[in-house]
Symmetry: C2
């Protein structure tokens, strides 16, 4: 073991961003929470990027400047007054800071830009509605006056989902519309306001006996990477997936009923467990990203909270193909599905072994001893859950199948480490970017039989760029396929170079047969590709619905690729 | 035991219907297959309807007359020629018989009518397209000429789904477009033509090693009551549910991808296991009942065929509330779900004990001995499946929970009897109707907390009619609720009296909070109620899609309540 004193550790920034600074906007998550690359990861980064400790002596472009803009507000003062008269003067904001903050998501593009103090398209008025009636009034008013409306839920969009490309107003849902309204224990459903943040929702469900006098404790079962900074409504309108989706389903599957305010009027979708009453309007609205209307209330499935039944597991496989084949057999095995389930490709495995504390342990020695080769071996981690014996049985089957595919059982230890920091990995983004290294992700859905083609094709493109890390995992599983999640880390000379690279990655995902998005949604980033992805015929169907519900095109214009009015 | 010779058995009709007769159209299922009420059931019927053996001496209105019509065909001869030039002269029919046959589904209303030789609205031309290109040409031509198009899949609609209310042409899918095109063993999907009938599809999947050189055998997992006379495409466009839906999911859940021909053009929906690419066009088309376009090909999930792992079970519960509570606990128990799972209310239980051969056996004695009271006790039957130990564990948990709710285990014996005749119960309809007794069903989806209200309210209405049997079961289960399936048997003086009664039942279902349909679809029967069910706002969304894809309203006009063009 090395002596820590001898080790160089960069001066990672570790203060809360200054109030009203750019950094306070682009920094991921809790202002006071940090996660730095550990020594092993740092050393790997230096090696990959051919950097020395000297390159980590001075941080640059940290975004400590105060937010300001010279973009004049395009909203007319009397419109501001009208909206204020609906929501109250305390619930509108026009400051530069508010305009930038609520116009900005969490893309790498935005964080690169904001570090240079360059604002993107800005909203003209920030509105904090108190209830759905106020939203209905605001939407009716904006429809009348043709003022664009964007919705800011948790603010974690990574595809420019609520970027206000045409200006207008932004409704912030998390300020007031953040309550769990009702738990129906008989039906196992929760009625909730869309601005409730992930942890609040989950904690409230966990404490339902105390808060709602239920007999049982519940969980929402939805834990996206962005959990801490995502809202319940955002999960549904962007079709998100949680880290336990293989067991609980995606946000799409969790929805029982939704209430929408649209320029055309308001409605609540049916709340039956299943029906055969024609095409389901609920489905038409899921994933509509605010382009059809505003989700103002929703009823979701909830589940028994039984963390005591979780059974962790981890395996090391000889290679990616073995890990994939084992995963497919597991997902098609009809013995129940695991909850968290992730397989990392060879490059990510090397990082994972460092991140989850395996490197240097007895497990690591065992892995080497048994001949699992670096940059070939692949890590699998996860846990089962559900009823106690069910959970145990699923784990038992997973062990059996994994061993048959050459996997070595690594105990539950790596999972505990992963779980401990599972929402914290994005925090490292700032550390790296402080030294000019950009980290970003793109993800796609794949059929099993296309998986290797997409993985190899996209990896090849990313690795063709010198000094670039490309880590891939699959983390949401179905009997018919899975997702691929690409993390790439590299230095870019400017935003244009970065964006060209990012577009190149998406090109490859598309051309090798992956979907445009598995769980990040569409937004304005991949909206322009929608026609090439689903075809003009199908995009026109989505546009027809848009034209019907939002004829003035005020609802999140530019997202989903629905913006052009060339519908014939 | 009685001596069979002493028993009176009505002369149930037991010949294949005469070719070209009305009976050949309305008789359920295989012309040479019959299922008659057994002695116990017959005796119960006599008692309930206060009938004697004398009332069963003479059958009446059996529909043996040859089909004929004086409804002139409204299609122009040159249009017939144009369509014949697309599909070939051998693939069009204009005979009276074909026009009536392919205009008729399986509602009680239709069978009452046809026994009197009264035709309903008729198609003007029956077309048997050979492939999707022909369908595209026919649809384009009909769009141009404003000729309505209906689609006849398996022909088992019970809501006037393909009734040609405006005349026009009917495409029969089962004649040529009935092939399983591809099994993708890696992805576990099957690509299939929509006119393939249920048993052909299932048998082909079961024999996939021989027919498609797969390693494994597969099942489609979809076994609706109408299995023998339902088509794969029909399952999806009407949102059907199979008897094993609690495990395999509804038709809605089985779909991976669909290809449609619409007046606006053709498209194939994405075939990823999950995506976040905005609202899913696949979902918009599911349940569209031919009103948006014609389903010409589909890719479905398939599953391992492992009948050897099925574990049957049956219970008798002290009452309906106990059966419902046990079922809810099972469905929310997170240990995996049973496959077939049915609970019968008190009245159906008495019939079930007769039908499934329990009455008079040692089990029956045991039931009486243990104090389960007739007209209070409730039967539960089902089986588990999936991987062997999983299936065993689900059954074990079901037993434990059922016992806790006062259920007595009845072995797997009643399930075997049920299973043996599970697609045959509808065959009894003709026997009863031959003696003037009408049997029909209506079904609905309910949330758990509304279940008793809907059950009691609807039952009360049905039982208010003198001499009327009302049997109810729940047979498709979800964590958030189930369905209720009402079977009613009574004598009606004419079609009007019958229809008024049927409307009354639907009124009650709606007013007590049930959905308009759980798995029978909408059609023209409940189409007019769609606006009151989902509201004008939501119906207008469905109409906007209709107006976009089918601006001339030629696609199955009248179904789904989309017919009026009052969209603003």
């Amino acid at each position: 073991m090395k002596n820590n004193n001898q080790e160089f550790i960069p001066e990672w920034y570790e203060e809360a961003p200054k109030p009203k600074s750019y950094r306070s906007i682009f920094k991921w998550g809790d202002p006071l929470a940090f996660k730095h690359p550990n020594a092993r990861l740092f050393s790997m980064l230096k090696e990959q990027f051919e950097l020395t400790n000297d390159d980590f002596l001075e941080r640059k472009k940290e975004g400590h400047e105060f937010v300001q803009t010279d973009q004049a507000s395009r909203i007319q003062p009397q419109h501001v007054n009208s909206i204020a008269s609906i929501v109250g003067n305390d619930n509108i904001e026009t400051s530069d800071y508010a305009r930038v903050k609520f116009s900005t998501g969490k893309t790498a593009e935005e964080s690169i830009r904001l570090r240079d103090g360059i604002n993107g398209p800005l909203t003209d008025l920030v509105v904090h509605p108190r209830n759905k009636d106020e939203i209905a009034k605001v939407v009716a008013f904006c429809h009348e006056e043709k003022i664009p409306i964007y919705v800011y839920g948790g603010g974690s969009s990574v595809n420019l989902g609520f970027q206000p490309i045409k200006g207008g107003i932004t409704l912030v849902m998390q300020t007031h519309m953040n309550k769990l309204l009702e738990i129906n224990e008989i039906n196992q459903t929760a009625r909730v306001q869309p601005g409730m943040m992930g942890p609040d929702y989950e904690n409230t469900l966990n404490q339902s006996p105390e808060l709602f006098q239920t007999k049982k404790r519940f969980t929402g079962g939805h834990f996206p990477q962005s959990f801490e900074y995502s809202s319940v409504g955002g999960w549904v309108v962007t079709l998100g997936s949680g880290q336990q989706s293989t067991y609980y389903g995606d946000a799409y599957d969790l929805v029982i009923s939704q209430e929408y305010v649209t320029p055309k009027g308001n409605f609540v979708t049916l709340d039956y467990p299943a029906t055969a009453n024609g095409p389901k309007v609920a489905d038409i609205m899921k994933g509509s990203e605010g382009c059809y209307g505003i989700l103002v209330e929703l009823t979701l499935k909830i589940f028994r909270y039984q963390p005591e039944n979780q059974r962790p597991f981890a395996f090391i496989f000889p290679d990616w193909r073995a890990a994939v084949e084992a995963s497919r057999e597991i997902c098609q095995g009809e013995f129940g599905l695991p909850s968290v389930y992730r397989i990392s490709d060879a490059e990510e495995t090397e990082v994972g072994l460092k991140l989850y504390g395996v490197e240097g342990t007895i497990l690591d020695k065992l892995i080497q001893l048994r001949g699992f080769k670096p940059m070939k071996r692949c890590l699998c981690i996860g846990h089962t859950e559900g009823e106690k014996a069910f959970s145990a049985h699923v784990k038992k089957r997973i062990k059996k199948i994994s061993r048959r595919h050459g996997g070595m059982y690594l105990t539950g230890y790596p999972v505990k480490n992963w779980k401990h920091g599972r929402f914290k990995d994005p925090y490292m983004r700032e550390d790296l970017q402080d030294f000019g290294i950009v980290t970003d992700t793109l993800e796609t859905s794949v059929r099993w039989d296309d998986l290797h083609k997409v993985h190899q094709g996209v990896r090849e493109f990313i690795k063709n760029r010198p000094k670039t890390i490309c880590m891939t995992h699959a983390s949401h599983f179905y009997p018919q396929g899975t997702n691929l999640y690409f993390i790439f880390i590299s230095k870019f000379k400017d935003l244009e170079e970065y964006k060209a690279f990012q577009e190149g990655v998406i090109d490859r995902i598309q051309s090798y047969g992956g979907s445009l998005s598995h769980h990040h949604g569409v937004g304005k980033m991949i909206g322009p590709r929608m026609e090439s992805h689903i075809g003009k015929m199908q995009l026109d169907i989505l546009k027809a619905i848009k034209n019907h519900l939002d004829p003035a095109n005020i609802m999140n214009p530019g997202s989903l690729g629905l913006d052009s009015n060339d519908l014939k």
